[in-house]
Symmetry: C2
Subunit: 365 residues, 2 copies
C-alpha cells in the first residue's frame, strides 16, 4: 500500500517555524516507527498572496483535495491588513474548509497539569479540565448568502450576512459530536440561541432528532450560547462534548481555550466526509494564530502544531497509539520544566527556543 | 413640574420578589430625599401571557412608551418553554427593546471587592475590575429579515436569520459608547468579525468614521470578537468601554459578567433617543434571569435590581449623587458581611433573605 500523503501548508508568521519542528517529529516517526508519509509542501495565506496574488492558489486547492491530510501552520499578519476582503490571508483558510467540506471542527480545551498556573482561573477550577468543542465549520453566517455591503435607503450603507443551516448540515455535525462523546464521557451539550433565532430552533430540533433516533444512549442537553459562555467561565468541568455552530463555536472555543491557560498548546482537527480510502477529509492546525510580533525569533511554542500532528495520527491514520506516544512525550517535557518563552512563569523552568522544544520532545520520544 | 414617571414590570420567577425590595428603596427616596415618582405597575413575560395570552399586552406597550423609565425584573420559566416562539416570555422583552428603540444597552461588569472570592478567576485578575459593555440592542440578527424555518430542496428544512446593520444604526450606538468613555477612562474597544463578515467590516468602518469626525480625543481600538472573548478571560482590566453588536454583546457581556463573580449584583440600562422632555427612552433591568429554581423562597439577591434603579437615577433622572448614595449603601452592606444565599462563601457572613437584604440597604442609606 502507498504511504499516506500529507500536505504541509506552513503559512505566515510563526507558521514556518513551528512547522519545522513538526517535520522533525514526522521524520522521527519515519525512522524509528516505520510510519512514513508522502510529504508535500505549499503556500497558504499571506505567503501565497505574495507569490500568486491570492491566499490559496487553485493548484494548492487541488492538491489539498487529493492528499490524506493537510497540516496547516497559521495565516495572517499586519502586512496584509490593507488587502481587500476577498484576498485576505483568512480567505485561504476559509476556502480550504469550504471546498474540502470540513464540517466538523474538533477543538479540545485541555488544561495541562504542569501549566495550570498560567490560567487566569483558579487552579481548582481548571485543573484536569478536558472538554471537546465540536464546531460546525462549513456553513452558518460564515458562508450564508446574501452577504455584502450595499447602499441603504437613507444615503448610508447596510452590511448584511446570512445565518443559514439545513437539516442535513446540522445532523452531520451532530453525529460527529455524538460519536466523540461515546468515546469520552457520553455527554453532549448543544449551544445556540433558540430563544431568539429560528436557525437556533432548527438546530435544537435536529440535535434532538439525531439523539432520539441514533444516539439515545448519549446524554444530550441544550444551553443558550450566552449562558454557555457564562458556564464555561464559572465551572467548565461540567462539560464533556459541546456542539455548536460556526460563529458561536469560533467565540466559545476561543474562550474555552483561554480558560486552560495553554493556548500555545492546543491543536485542532477539521474533518469532513470519508474519502474513497475510508479516511475522512482532514485538516489539522494549531488554535493559536500567526503571532507576527514574535515571528522569526525562535521564540514560538511548537507544541500546538506538534499536537495537531498527533491528532492527524489519531483521526486520519488510525494510529491512536502513536498519537498517545507523542502526547505523552509532550507531557513529559512539560513535567520536566522545559519551557518556551510563553510558558515561562514565576515557577521558572528551563528556557528553550522553538527548536530547543523540538529537541526535547524528540529526546522524550 | 410633574413627578417623573416609572413603570414597574416585575415579570416572572424572582422578578416580583426582587422588585418588592426596589419599591421599598423607591419609597425611602420619596420620604427621605424628596425624590418622588409616579409609579405604575404592569405585567410582562409569562405573567402577561397567563392573563393576556401574549407576553406583552398592547396597553402595556403604550404605557411603556409614555413613562420616563421602565424598571423590569426578569422574564421566563420552565412553564413557558413549550410555548410557540412568538409568545414566549422573551418576546415581551424583545418587543419593549424594539418598539422603544432602545439601541444602547449598558452592561457594567464590575467586581465588588468584598465578593472577589466568588469569581472563578484569580483575585489579582479581577479585583478592581470595572468595564462597561455597550451592546447594540435593536438590530442585527435579533431582528433582521428574512428569518424563519422553511422547507429546503432536499426534503429537509432550512433555518434562516439575517444579520443586518445600517450606517445610522452603527453610528448612534458608537456615539453612545464614545460619550460614556469620555466620562470614564477615554478608551473604546470595538468588537466584530470583520475578517469573516461584511457587516463587521461596515461596523469597523463606521466606528472609525464616528471616531475620526466626532470623538478623535477618545482612544479607539478594534478586536475580533473571538479574540475579545479570549482577552476578557485573560486580562479583563485592559478594557474600559467595549462596544459591540447585539449578538456578540449578548455573549461577551454574559462572559464578562461571570468573570466578576457578581452575577446577582449586576444591573443594566437600555437607552434610546431623547424624548420631548430631554430624557432618553429607557429600560432598566438586572443582568440575571428569572431563576425559577429559587423563586418564591425569599432567597433571591435583590441587589442587581436595586442597582438597576440606581442606574435609572443616574441616566434617566440626572441624579448621579442619589445614585452614588444608593451604590455606596450597597457596598457598605457587602463590606459588613451581609449575604444572601448566592453570596455565601467559605468566609461566611451574616445570612439574610431577600427582604433582609432590603432592610440592610435601607438601614445603610
Ligand atoms: C482566522 C479566522 C477566519 C478563523 C475563524 O473565524 O474561523 C479563526 O478565528 C479560527 O477560529 O479558526
Ligand atoms: C432573554 C434573552 C432574549 C436576552 C437576549 O438574548 O438578549 C438575554 O439573554 C439578555 O441578554 O438580555
Amino acid at each position: 500500500m502507498a504511504n499516506p500523503s500529507l500536505l504541509i501548508l506552513a503559512g505566515d508568521g510563526i507558521g514556518p517555524e513551528v512547522m519545522a519542528e513538526v517535520k522533525r517529529i514526522i521524520g522521527w516517526f519515519g525512522e524509528k516507527r516505520g510510519v512514513t508519509f508522502d510529504l508535500s509542501e505549499d503556500l497558504v495565506g499571506g505567503a501565497a498572496y505574495d507569490v500568486h496574488g491570492v491566499p490559496l492558489a487553485d493548484a494548492t486547492m487541488a492538491k489539498a483535495q487529493e492528499v490524506d491530510a493537510v497540516l496547516l501552520g497559521a495565516v495572517g499578519g499586519p502586512k496584509y491588513d490593507v488587502l481587500d476582503f476577498s484576498v485576505k490571508p483568512e480567505r485561504g483558510l476559509l476556502r480550504l474548509r469550504k471546498e474540502m467540506d470540513l464540517y466538523s471542527n474538533l477543538r479540545p480545551a485541555q488544561c495541562f497539569d504542569a501549566l495550570a498556573e498560567f490560567s487566569s482561573l483558579k487552579r481548582e477550577i481548571v485543573a484536569g479540565l478536558d472538554i471537546m468543542i465540536v464546531r460546525e465549520l462549513t456553513s452558518g453566517v460564515y458562508f450564508g448568502e446574501p452577504r455584502g455591503i450595499f447602499p441603504d435607503n437613507e444615503g448610508g450603507r447596510v452590511g448584511i450576512n446570512t445565518q443559514r443551516y439545513t437539516t442535513e448540515e446540522i445532523r452531520r455535525v451532530a453525529r460527529s459530536a455524538f460519536e466523540l462523546a461515546r468515546r469520552r464521557n457520553n455527554k453532549v451539550c448543544s449551544m445556540e440561541k433558540a430563544n431568539v433565532m429560528e436557525s437556533g430552533i432548527l438546530w435544537r430540533e435536529e440535535l434532538r432528532w439525531v439523539h432520539d433516533n441514533e444516539y439515545p444512549d448519549v446524554e444530550l442537553s441544550h444551553m443558550y450560547a450566552d449562558n454557555g459562555a457564562m458556564q464555561l467561565v464559572r465551572w467548565p468541568r461540567q462539560f464533556d462534548v459541546i456542539v455548536t455552530d460556526n460563529l458561536f463555536g469560533d467565540i466559545l472555543s476561543d474562550c474555552a481555550a483561554m480558560l486552560t491557560g495553554s493556548l500555545g498548546m492546543l491543536p485542532s482537527a477539521s474533518l469532513g466526509a470519508p474519502m474513497a480510502n475510508g479516511r475522512p477529509k482532514a485538516l489539522y492546525e494549531p488554535v493559536h494564530g500567526s503571532a507576527p510580533d514574535i515571528a522569526g525569533q525562535g521564540k514560538a511554542n511548537p507544541i500546538a502544531c506538534i499536537l495537531s500532528f498527533a491528532m492527524a495520527l489519531r483521526y486520519s491514520f488510525d494510529m491512536g497509539d502513536e498519537a498517545t506516544r507523542l502526547e505523552k512525550a509532550v507531557e513529559k517535557v512539560l513535567a520536566d520544566g522545559i519551557r518556551t518563552a510563553d510558558l515561562m512563569g514565576p515557577e521558572g523552568g528551563t528556557p528553550v527556543s522553538t527548536s530547543g522544544m523540538g529537541d526535547a520532545i524528540l529526546a522524550a520520544l
